[in-house]
C-alpha cells in the first residue's frame, strides 16, 4: 500500500500542471442558451489540447491519443480539475464514448475518418440510445431501420440527446431485426445529423437549460458503411464501451467536488445563518454537515484511488466502479441540498447567474437532480450492484 506516485508519474504531473497553468483559457466558458458559443469554445479548447499532445489521454497512441497509463490518466484528470480547466460536456460523447467504441469495434475506414476529427476538435458527437419507451430498459428500443440497397432507412424517435442541435454525428442504436430476441436485433450506426428526415426539438429542463433534445427520424437514409460492428450486433458494440462511459474522465470528479465543498465552506463563512446566526458556519448543524461533506469527498478520493489501483493490476474496471458511481451521484445531491440550506432564502430568488452567485448554486442544485437519472437511474445502479457485485438472485 502506497499513496505516493512514482518519480516518472510525478514528472508527468509536473508536466501536466505546467501546461495547464499556461493554457487553461482565462475567459469563462460561455453558459446558458448560446450553444453555438459553447461549441466554439469547447472545440477551440480541444484543438489546443490536441496541438500540445494532450487530446485523448486515454486513447491508444496508434489512434493519435496520449496512450497514458491508468495512473497517468488519474493524475491528468486531477490536475485538469485542479487547474479549473473547462468541464468536458459537448465533446464528451466523442472523446469518451463514440471514439472508444470506434477504436474497439469500428472498421479501418471508420477509424481513419472519425478518430482524428474527434481528437482535433472538429466535430461534436451526440448519443441516440434512449427512447420515450426505452429508458432504463434500453434493449426495448423500437426505432427501426430497414436495409434498402446499400442504405439503412431509419424511422422513429430518440430522446434525452444532449447537444443534438450542435452535433455532426450521432451514435445511434436502431432495431434492424424485429423478429430476433430483443438484444440480438439491434444495430449501432453512425448517423450524420444533417441527413434529410431528421428533426431536432430541444427540451427545456427543470433547471431552465436546453442542453438536450428529442430527435425524430423520418425515412433517414444512412449508408450501410456507417454500421459499426455487424448488422444486428449493436448491443454487443454498445456494451463493449459502456463501462468506459464514466471511465477515467470520472477520475476528476473527486477534485471537482473538493473544490465545490471548499467554495461552499467559503459561502457559509459569508452568508448569515439560521436562528439569527451571523454566519451560516456558526450553526452547529450546518457546520457538521459541511464537515461530513468534506469527509465524504475525501472518501470519494480514497475510493477512486482504490479503484484505480485495483484496475491497474487487473487491467479492467472492477466491480467497485458501480459502487463509486452510486455514492458519487448521491453525494453530489447531498452537497447541492446543503448549499441550498446554507443559502437560505437567497436560494429561492434566482435561477442561474454568474459563478459564485446564489442563483448559480440553485441552478446547480436543480441540475444535480439528473445525477441519479442520466446514464442509469440510481435504482438501476442498485440493481447492478445487487446483481453483479453481490451476486443476489434476479
Amino acid at each position: 500500500m502506497e499513496l505516493r506516485f512514482s518519480a516518472a508519474e510525478e514528472a508527468f504531473r509536473a508536466e501536466a500542471r505546467a501546461w495547464l497553468a499556461a493554457n487553461v483559457p482565462g475567459a469563462a466558458r460561455p453558459r446558458g442558451e448560446d450553444l453555438r458559443a459553447r461549441r466554439a469554445f469547447d472545440l477551440a479548447w480541444q484543438r489546443r489540447l490536441f496541438d500540445a499532445g494532450w487530446a485523448g489521454v486515454s486513447w491508444p497512441r496508434e489512434y493519435g491519443g496520449r496512450g497514458a497509463t491508468l495512473m497517468e490518466q488519474l493524475i491528468w484528470y486531477e490536475e485538469y480539475a485542479r487547474a479549473g480547466a473547462p468541464e468536458i460536456t459537448t465533446t464528451f460523447v466523442g472523446l469518451n464514448h463514440a471514439g472508444p467504441t470506434l477504436i474497439a469495434c469500428g472498421s479501418a475506414a471508420q477509424k481513419a475518418y472519425h478518430l482524428p476529427r474527434i481528437l482535433r476538435g472538429e466535430v461534436v458527437w451526440c448519443q441516440g440510445f434512449s427512447e420515450p419507451n426505452a429508458g432504463s430498459d434500453l434493449a426495448s428500443l423500437q426505432t427501426k431501420a430497414v436495409v434498402e440497397g446499400d442504405h439503412l432507412v431509419v424511422t422513429g424517435q430518440k430522446i434525452w440527446t444532449s447537444f443534438a442541435q450542435i452535433a455532426e454525428f450521432q451514435e445511434l442504436l436502431v432495431r434492424t431485426d424485429p423478429a430476433a430476441p430483443r438484444h440480438r436485433g439491434i444495430t449501432w450506426v453512425i448517423c450524420p445529423m444533417d441527413a434529410p428526415g431528421i428533426t431536432i426539438r430541444p427540451i427545456t429542463t427543470l433547471a431552465g437549460g436546453q442542453d438536450f433534445c428529442e430527435v425524430f427520424y423520418d425515412g433517414v437514409r444512412i449508408p450501410l458503411a456507417n454500421v459499426v460492428g455487424a448488422l444486428n450486433d449493436g448491443w454487443r458494440v454498445a456494451m463493449a464501451t459502456l463501462s468506459f462511459e464514466r471511465g477515467t474522465a470520472f477520475l476528476s470528479e473527486q477534485v471537482r467536488l473538493a473544490r465545490r465543498v471548499g467554495a461552499l465552506v467559503e459561502l457559509a463563512r459569508r452568508v448569515p445563518g439560521p436562528r439569527g446566526r451571523a454566519r451560516a458556519v456558526d450553526d452547529d448543524e450546518l457546520a457538521r454537515r459541511l464537515a461530513r461533506a468534506s469527509a465524504e469527498v475525501e472518501a470519494m478520493r480514497a475510493m477512486t484511488y482504490r479503484s484505480v489501483s485495483l484496475a491497474a493490476q487487473t487491467g479492467v474496471p472492477g466491480a467497485e466502479a458501480s459502487i463509486i458511481r452510486l455514492f458519487f451521484s448521491e453525494l453530489v445531491q447531498r452537497i447541492d441540498v446543503l448549499a441550498m440550506d446554507v443559502l437560505g432564502a437567497a436560494g429561492t430568488r434566482q435561477l442561474g447567474g454568474a459563478e459564485g452567485t446564489p442563483g448559480r448554486w440553485t441552478e446547480r442544485y436543480l441540475a444535480g437532480l439528473s445525477q441519479t437519472i442520466g446514464g442509469g437511474t440510481k435504482d438501476i445502479q442498485r440493481n447492478i450492484i445487487g446483481d453483479r457485485v453481490l451476486g443476489l438472485p434476479r
Binding site: 457538521r288 480514497a302 440493481n383 446483481d387 443476489l392
Partner: protein, 338 residues
C-alpha cells in the same frame, strides 16, 4: 500509488482470518465471553507467537517490521470476528510501553487497555487523579496506557491508588470498566500521545470497517437462501437495494481506513484529518450496516440467538471510542469557524 492489499499483506490477512475463523468462530466467542476471564488465553498466546502485537514495529525492536496498514488489516479482521480481548490497547502498547515491559507486551504476557483522555482531565504531570469511565476491557488488563493531552503515561494494574471496577456494557463481547485514580504515580511514556491517538483512531475505524463488511456479507448470504413468496428475498428490490447501500457503505469504510493507514505510516497529507474522516465514516457505516443486517434477517435477526445484534452493539461501543462522530465533525469544522 497503490491502495490494494499487496501479496504479502494478503498473506498476513489470510493467516489472521484463518486463525480467527478456526479458533474464534462466533459460537466460540459467545462461550468465551460467558465465563471469566472473558477472552481466550490460548488464542491470545497464539496471536503473540504469530507476532500480531508487533506487526507495526521494526524488527530491531522485536516487531515484524511492517507498519500501520498491516495493523489496520489486523484490526479489521478482529472487528469482523468480534474477537474479545484488549487487542487495540496491546497493539498500541507495543509502540509505547516502557522499555522494560515492551518485550512482555509483544509476547502477550502483559495485556493493555487504553484510557483516552484527550482533554488531559486526569492530570498533566506525573500524578494522575480522577475517574476514567468506559474503559474497554479494563477488567482483563494488566496495565493501562493513558493518552493525555500532551503526554502518554503507563499505569500498571497494581499501581498504588488505582481502583478498577467492572462497569455495565451493552456489548457482550466487549466489557467496560471504570478506573478510579487516586494520586496514582504514572510512568511517562516516550511516545507522542497525538500519534498514538491517531493510530488508535485508525485501528478503531478499521474495526468498524470490519463490522460494516461482515454484516454486509451476512445479509447477502441470508438474502440468497431465505425464501418468501417462492423466491429468495434477495431477488426483491427492497432487500436488494438495501444490500446495495450496505455495499456502498462498506466500500466507503474500507477505502477511508486504507487511505488513513497509509497516510499515517508515511506522514502523507494531514494524518489527523485522515484519521478523523476514517473513524467517523467507518463508524457511520458500521452502525447503519449492522442495523440493516438486523432488518434483513427479519424476525430471527431480532433475537438474542442470532449474531446480528452482536455487531450492532459493537458498532455502538466503537462510536464512543476515540471520539464520537460529532467530535470528529466538530474538529474538521473548527478551522472554518475561527
Amino acid at each position: 500509488m497503490d491502495l490494494t492489499v499487496g501479496g504479502e499483506q494478503a498473506q498476513i490477512r489470510d493467516a489472521i482470518r484463518g486463525v480467527l475463523a478456526d479458533r474464534l468462530p462466533l459460537a466460540r466467542v459467545r462461550a468465551v465471553v460467558a465465563a471469566p476471564p472473558g477472552f481466550d488465553p490460548d488464542v491470545w498466546r497464539e496471536a503473540a507467537a504469530l507476532g500480531w502485537f508487533g506487526l507495526g514495529l521494526p524488527e530491531a525492536e522485536g516487531g515484524a517490521g511492517y507498519g500501520t496498514p498491516e495493523e489496520m488489516l489486523l484490526a479489521l479482521e478482529l472487528g469482523r470476528a468480534l474477537a474479545p480481548g484488549p487487542w487495540r490497547g496491546t497493539i498500541l502498547a507495543a509502540h509505547a510501553a516502557p522499555r522494560a515491559v515492551r518485550a512482555a507486551v509483544l509476547a502477550g504476557a502483559v495485556r493493555v487497555a487504553v484510557v483516552d483522555d484527550p482533554a488531559g482531565a486526569l492530570g498533566a504531570g506525573a500524578r494522575l487523579r480522577g475517574t476514567a469511565v468506559d474503559v474497554a476491557d479494563a477488567g482483563v488488563a494488566e496495565a493501562f496506557l493513558v493518552l493525555g493531552a500532551r503526554r502518554a503515561a503507563w499505569v500498571p494494574r497494581d499501581a498504588r491508588g488505582l481502583g478498577v471496577a467492572a462497569a455495565p456494557s451493552i456489548d457482550p463481547t466487549r466489557p467496560l470498566g471504570r478506573l478510579a485514580l487516586d494520586d496514582v504515580g504514572a510512568e511517562p511514556v516516550d511516545a507522542d500521545p497525538a500519534a498514538l491517538r491517531r493510530l488508535g483512531t485508525v485501528l478503531a475505524a478499521a474495526e468498524a470497517a470490519g463490522v460494516a463488511e461482515r454484516t454486509l456479507e451476512m445479509s447477502v448470504a441470508y438474502a440468497k437462501v431465505r425464501r418468501q413468496f417462492g423466491r429468495p428475498i434477495g431477488a426483491f428490490q427492497a432487500v436488494k437495494h438495501r444490500c446495495a447501500d450496505m455495499a456502498v457503505r462498506a466500500e466507503v469504510a474500507r477505502s477511508v481506513v486504507t487511505f488513513a493507514a497509509v497516510a499515517l505510516r508515511d506522514g502523507e497529507g494531514d494524518p489527523a484529518r485522515h484519521a478523523a474522516v476514517a473513524k467517523a465514516l467507518a463508524t457511520d457505516a458500521a452502525l447503519a450496516n449492522a442495523a440493516d443486517n438486523v432488518q434483513n434477517h427479519g424476525g430471527i435477526g431480532y433475537t438474542w440467538e442470532a449474531d446480528a445484534h452482536l455487531y450492532l452493539k459493537r458498532a455502538w461501543l466503537l462510536e464512543h471510542e476515540f471520539g464520537r462522530r460529532a467530535d470528529h465533525w466538530d474538529a474538521l469544522a473548527a478551522p472554518w469557524r475561527a
